[in-house]
Symmetry: C2
Subunit: 375 residues, 2 copies
């Protein structure tokens, strides 16, 4: 069946469920999008995983974050110990957790890739050592990564996508841990054409003076590394004038500003193309990675979902530009994939509705008088 | 400990978790409210139940609903068979399901009160036969119930609250099934003082002519059964002029317009007072029952939570008046408790965060430089 036929088939199934048509709202939208991307009616969700991408950022040298850089490595230990927010929420929402060292400035033990099963059936966290850099260079001074380092991150992400497919994960959530990464996210997005005043926010809670500094660092760096285009997936603006395609320009933007966790996330998203796996974006830093992947290949929207709307003010405008409606809005701003796993649970509810509810055609339930109408 | 001490203790615990202060947003709010209502730090969620209140409405004689009255009884069979939307979502969110015949115009088998455990550990639906009426009288013509019938419903609800406490349920969600009950909900709320233009909506999808009829039926009936007061929990307006307390007036409004499912829901809410159990409201019909209970005793807000914001336009203004922020907004309008169990899952996430995350005081993680600030 082609996409149109799949869509008709899942809509027919949703309309045959024992409820007024459309009354499960967004859950029905999720079931439809899942069906189309999987090519299955009803859609299925066998296993779910969250990849927590950890990486360090040279730009913290500019004093743009409240937390010291070593927190990134400390939090990787917390993920592997099972005590972080993402561990608790992933377990509750049925996601396996994988921490990924994409480029942390610190060393870790040789943790296993796949964690052991726990007595309650959940899995202990797994670990991917994929250190492409030991933290990026300070993008206020020079490009954050070389083109080769950036490419390595994209390739590492593609390997994670292959792993997810081989393990039978139908939903992949992406989270982030990287002190300084709301600053790199803002730089990526400003370079992609978004408004700096919308994109630069307080992160974990900086004051007015630090906010002004962060604004200056981002705007000056985008100017110094540019010129870049207009932020649309099509090739426009200064980037086009410089003879760059949208994809080439996005690669240049990624190397200039991205942290390794964002570059690896973009690689994971691009690697999921054609695999029939849904991908949940988390907050602002991962959504910036999503926007980068989207600029490289707009077709990724086929399987991308917005997990949540975070409290970071730049998050919503970027989701809006990508046409992604967040599943929940819980005023969170933790990162780690915490919003992505809650949103992924909502998407799974859509799949369950479509596959587990009774149908009118199988039950003796009176339909509405106006049943033929699409009310 | 008193409430203030409990609140300080849970706030101290939330601030010691390995995350920036306040970064889990509403989940932290839920943990705080749960702690205070339970008197426990951290809060706990042992078991969760949804009571789906089913009842029939005489006002359907006026032609205000698209669905025939017999659907109420048919859907009770669907709940007990496990194929309705609430069954699927309750299982996914970890809620036991109880269908309650509060006053359906139909007869049911002698289903057991407590369903058997299934192989996957979930429970088959249980059933409470609590038929106070065989459908209400048409409130366009006469009061829906006698004061004695209404009292019976309240008493039945109180018995459900006792059952919930004895079973160790820490979260109770309330759902509804009653053809015509957005009309009775609108009448309850207009009598409580809400704006008719906001409260009267299309329900399961009626057209302009039926909407105009529904508006006339509600406004005329409130006028005929009144006068009533202003909608505030304090004693004001015409009700006060007539010498009625808010509580007496609410009882009169309930008997005049409520369906048995709404009256039993109000009784359940009132019965939960002092039991340390959180109560999740569902959509418009159950929120009307919640508003009735609130008018009878404003202290119920201590343990009430808004499960979701439905697509029915009157829902949000009532939640706003009660000061309840919905947990999710998924554009649903199914009822049955579907929004209440999803919201209840979110509240449980708050409890899990508070009890399962690692703490700074127990870990070697660097705090923010501005840690003392409440950023």
């Amino acid at each position: 069946m082609n996409d149109t036929e799949i869509l008709q088939a899942i809509q027919a199934r949703l309309d045959d469920l024992t409820k007024p048509k459309g009354s499960l709202g967004k859950l029905e939208d999720y079931a439809e999008k899942l069906s189309v991307l999987q090519g299955l009616v009803p859609p299925r969700v066998r296993r779910k995983a969250v990849f927590v991408m950890a990486g360090d950022h040279g730009v913290v040298n500019q004093g743009v974050s409240l937390y010291p850089r070593e927190v990134t490595a400390q939090m990787v230990h917390n993920f592997m110990g099972g005590g972080a927010g993402i561990n608790v929420l992933a377990r509750a929402c049925g996601f396996d957790v994988y921490a990924v060292d994409t480029g942390v400035d610190g060393d870790f033990p040789a943790w296993p890739v796949k964690g052991k099963a726990r007595p309650d059936g959940s899995m202990a966290p797994g670990f991917f050592p994929m250190k492409a850099v030991r933290g990026t260079r300070d993008f206020a001074v020079e490009p954050a990564m070389s083109p080769a380092e950036f490419r390595t991150c994209l390739d590492n992400g593609a390997r994670l996508a292959d792993f997810a497919a081989s393990e039978g994960y139908d939903i992949v959530a992406i989270g982030d841990m990287g002190i300084g990464n709301t600053t790199s996210a803002a730089a990526i997005l400003v370079a992609l054409g978004f408004d700096p005043d919308q994109m630069i926010d307080r992160g974990t809670g900086i004051d007015d003076a630090m906010l002004a500094l962060k604004h200056k660092v981002v705007v000056d760096a985008v100017k110094a590394r540019g010129p870049f285009g207009s932020g649309k997936p099509a090739d426009t603006g200064a980037g086009k004038a410089a003879g760059l395609s949208g994809s080439e320009e996005a690669l240049r933007i990624g190397a200039a500003f991205a942290g390794p966790e964002q570059a690896t996330a973009a690689g994971l998203i691009l690697g999921l193309r054609g695999k029939g796996i849904a991908c949940m974006l988390d907050g602002f830093p991962i959504t910036a990675a999503g926007a980068l992947a989207w600029r490289i290949d707009p077709s990724v929207l086929r399987f991308l979902f917005a997990g949540h709307q975070s409290r970071v003010k730049g998050h919503r405008p970027v989701l809006d530009a990508m046409g992604l409606e967040p599943a929940v809005c819980l005023d969170m701003r933790l990162g780690e994939g915490t919003g992505a796993v809650i949103g992924g649970f909502m998407v799974e509810l859509g799949a369950k509705i479509a596959s587990e509810m009774a149908t009118f055609s199988g039950m003796a339930i009176s339909r509405a008088k106006a049943d033929e109408k699409d009310f």
